[in-house]
Amino acid sequence: MMRSLFLFDMTFWLYLAALVLYIGYLFARRPTMALAPAGHPSDNFDERDGAWATQLGQVATLVTVFGWLVNTGALFTRAFERMEHSGTFAPWSNQFEAMAYVSWAIILGYVILELRYKIKAVGAFVVGIGFIAMGAASLLPYRYQTAEPLVPALNSYWIYIHVSVTLTSYAAFAMAGGLGLMYLFKERAERQGKTTGFYAAFPDLETIDELGYKAITIGFPLLAFGIILGAMWANYAWGGYWSWDPKETWSLIVWLIYGAYIHARMTRGWEGRKAAIYAVFGFLMVVFCFWGVNFLLSGLHAYA
């Protein structure tokens, strides 16, 4: 019935394929000690570590980019379907669409990271999160996946900016969470003295740590902006910019959590392992804010 659903399905399978390829790439790429001492930038690996591993990595990137294009196409198709039905273009008007948009943003963020820093190992984690987000969306019952007309309160141009900005911040925090997880794996392996094999293909700890921090410094202002746009919308729609509705409060809680992280980073000792654990914790809070609040707590945002 809806063409976009086919494309969303296809996105799901492509992200799964990309994830498998990235994991395969990590296994294939087993640099020896001599080739990859700890702390060595991973973009300078010797070519001898397996030409086919490199090819696998390239295929993984191609599949990811293709998946992202299909995801883009799916969102556009959905936007036009929405336009026909209810006169609003925004393809993030229910939980399903919001999830699909978040995975789109996560994958876009990852592709930019890979192009800029030439690190492929991150894909196994971050593409993984994008895949899980898309998968969780696909698991929603059919009635959540279709494009029902919007309720009057949502039918406004504010939906374009408030929702897209907030969801993009979630994607940035997802990236930070993935990098945090990656840091913890690598750090554990190093503590156990495993300098070869699977984990050696990861970038060095300092790089993962800094990238994770960077993702948070992107998500933090975005979330602030998203919350403020929401406050402006609420003021315009209901006559109050802040009403301590569960979603509002939870987004503020998430923002405070990352605010604490950014301040903690200023004092010594809040790098590395602690910061990585914190980033994973923060991401779980984002997941609760995004999913848990909609399904567990009642409030003005319970549109799912």
Binding site: S86, P149, T207, Y213
Partner: protein
């Protein structure tokens, strides 16, 4: 935000005058240090986050019965004591927010002057030890003259967008380059924003108001706070093809001294604004004390046969000559209840749970009766003197429009604070304050460039930049 993060090697501080005991100077310094500390900021961020969750788990502002039923009486007593039924307005929660403002203001007071100085002041006069102690540092021998290397270096910095200061002395040339101080200014702007937002909020809560009005079509209401009247011309609902509500709309007219001043059709997301008072389309529903039309069955008492079905309009008498009757509806209640002390009928709730209308009938120009007809209990009463039995079989309720009426004189202050926070944290997230010092010292074979740099954020990008810079310096050969 940007505290000790620079990790600048400290130049020996002038010894503090050692007054014995706790003088006021020490005390106030300690106080400023405490309130400006990053630790306090982290504690407040997390503590506010944790306590804010309470209000999302426990329903806020409910009736006592609801809490007692769900949590028990004992727990409810504690809820009241701790303010858990209205967490966000308790003295302790607002104090936490106030403390956050104090924290950020003190931080501004303590740290902004140094940022200001670093924007204004010459930082060329540093020692060699200072350069060598910086986090990123290198020594690069170059076969060239001091002046030529300095020239190339300054050119390179300028091409990269740095602000450069240089000092040529007989022994050495010192070059100081800096970029991105706005990142630190941004952090301070974000700090000030907390107080601005809170002030805007206070202004709104002292001088503003927010009310909910249930209004009926055709009625005029006085708005005392605006000293004008509001007439609801029309209310209607638009539907999508699949039957779901597309929008609800009210046409409103503002009247001043009986004269129409403004008319607008409002809908959700499109309010009417008049004299700083905003009228929002907030909800709608079925009125509980009025109907538009009611349908009555008139039955013959003896045969129990329906003689006629009539639709009666609200408070409009209808004459039925064939039955020799006059009928009108004078009252309606959605959920019938009777106050026996005041002898008054009223609606128990706003739900249409037990609807009843009051019928006034005149039969054969003599019988006057005012029975209540219940939709759910048609045989409850019988009118003795009448040969008819009346039944309420249906009605069309009048819709009310729910209007939110609000005035908030603090709103623009709040938006100013919001702009400050977004601009502030965006600047501080994406712009890094970088400072690089170089000392070019002549040697028998040329010069040695001692270079050291620091950033207050984004070490990874700075490291890359620094590496490229050292590579660049190696090319400055004669």
């Amino acid at each position: 935000m940007n505290s000790q993060s620079d990790a600048l090697p400290t130049e020996p501080a002038p010894p503090r005058p050692s007054t014995p005991g706790l003088g006021w100077d020490e005390f106030s310094r300690e106080l400023v240090d405490f309130f400006a500390s990053v630790k306090l900021a982290i504690f407040l961020f997390l503590f506010i986050a944790i306590t804010a969750t309470i209000g999302t788990v426990i329903q806020q502002g409910e009736r006592a019965e609801v809490y007692i039923q769900e949590y028990g009486e004992n727990a409810y007593r504690w809820f009241l004591r701790l303010g858990f039924t209205d967490v966000y307005h308790t003295w302790w929660f607002t104090s936490l927010l106030g403390l956050l403002c104090v924290n950020s203001l003190t931080c501004f007071y303590k740290r902004f002057p140094s940022v200001w100085r670093s924007m204004k002041q010459d930082k060329v006069g540093v020692t060699m030890a200072f350069v060598k102690n910086l986090k990123q540092q290198a020594e690069i021998p170059v076969e060239n003259t001091k002046e030529s290397v300095a020239q190339s270096l300054v050119q390179h910095f300028v091409s990269k967008g740095y602000r450069v200061l240089a000092k040529n002395e007989p022994g050495e040339v010192t070059v100081y380059a800096t970029k991105g101080v706005m990142g630190r200014v941004g952090a301070h702007m974000a700090h000030l924003s907390a107080t601005v937002i809170v002030l805007g909020g206070l202004l709104g809560s002292y001088y503003g108001f927010q009310e909910f009005g249930v209004c009926l079509e055709g009625q005029t209401y006085h708005i005392p706070r605006g000293n004008f009247d509001l007439k609801v011309d029309k209310f209607w609902i638009d539907y999508h093809e699949n039957g779901s509500v597309k929008s609800y709309n009210s046409t409103l007219t503002v009247l001043e001294g009986g004269q129409a001043k403004a008319t607008k059709t409002i809908t959700v997301n499109d309010p009417l604004v008049y004299n700083g008072i905003w009228f929002y389309q907030s909800s709608y529903g079925d009125a509980w004390d009025q109907v538009e039309v009611a349908r009555i069955n008139i039955k013959d008492k003896e045969t129990d046969k329906v003689l006629k079905t009539v639709d009666l309009e609200w408070q409009k008498e209808q004459t039925l000559p064939d039955l020799n009757l006059k009928l009108s509806i004078t009252d309606f209640v959605a959920d019938f209840a009777f106050n026996s002390t005041e002898k008054k009928v009223y609606s128990k709730t706003i739900e249409h749970a037990n609807p009843a209308i009051k019928l006034v009938l005149t039969e054969r120009d003599s019988v006057q009766a005012t029975p209540w007809l219940f939709q759910q209990f048609p045989d409850l009463f019988e009118i003795k003197d009448s040969k008819y039995q009346f039944e309420l079989v249906g009605y069309k309720p009048r819709k009310f429009t729910g209007l939110q009426i609000a005035k908030n004189p603090g709103i623009n202050v709040v938006w100013t604070g919001c702009t400050m926070i977004v601009v502030g944290i965006t600047l501080s997230s994406f712009i890094f304050h970088r400072r690089i010092w170089t000392k070019i010292v002549p040697t028998p074979t040329g010069v040695v460039v001692h270079i050291g740099g620091t950033t207050h954020k984004s070490q990874i990008d700075f490291n890359k930049e620094f590496r490229k810079l050292t590579e660049k310096i190696q090319t400055f050969k004669a």
